[in-house]
Symmetry: C2
Subunit: 140 residues, 2 copies
């Protein structure tokens, strides 16, 4: 049988904290900079389980997932390899603590997000913000 190559599934999380804030992580590895918490999905793990696990590992918070938002799959979205990320919206309480691949984790007010962000995460946050404010989902 021919061997096919497929993109790799990941999850990313928009974690909402009280006070209209969202949690970002400063990445330890390349590309450096601020990004959404997230990571690879393991074989045998659902997207939802991966999202909860990544939040625990990278920002030290127990997240309650509220929604599967959208999957982003542009082959150029990550310079290292082709990933397909499913983005979740969740809520948590408490203060985030960076761990695993995150040098630090910090809540930002929506009105003062750092720029630029890694990958397509500025686009994702723009889409989520619009959705939270208007109920309008990202179009294809």
């Amino acid at each position: 049988m021919a061997e096919y190559r497929n993109p790799t599934p990941t999850v990313d999380l928009v974690v909402l904290l009280p006070g209209d804030r969202v949690v970002l992580v400063e990445r330890k590895g390349e590309p450096r900079g601020w990004a959404l918490p997230g990571g690879f999905v393991d074989e045998g793990e659902s997207l939802e389980a991966a999202a909860v696990r990544e939040a625990r590992e990278e920002i030290g918070l127990e997240v309650t997932l509220e929604e599967q938002f959208h999957a982003y799959s542009d082959p150029r979205r990550d310079p290292r390899r082709h990933t397909v990320t499913t983005v979740f919206i969740g809520r948590a309480e408490g203060e985030p603590v960076g761990g695993d691949d995150a040098a630090q984790a910090r809540p930002f007010p929506w009105t003062a997000l750092p720029s630029p962000l890694c990958f397509d995460h500025a686009e994702i946050l723009g889409d989520v913000r619009r959705y939270l404010l208007t109920g309008q989902r990202r179009r294809l």
Copy 2:
């Protein structure tokens, strides 16, 4: 570096035809039976491009994608390997013709879908039908 194993990304399509009908395919391979058209996403290909390609190959129709609906990732959803499928809703005109992995392709009225369906496709169709009728998306 340790080697990690990840699930494989796929797409499945709910293709709506005029007359409140949806297109299903009869699978050539195991597991046999009726299912949604769909298949593996290639490296370098977006989910949306994969969905349009699979519709062309399996049911011979040019589909206009309307929505990314939901991603289903239960590790038990496919007995052969762990797949994460992103489901699209699209529209097409004309009559489907089975090709590639499909022995045949046929439109069914929503009120007379075959049963059982392969994989979790009955659940997916139930979720999509509810969404089309009520605007209510699948909850986590």
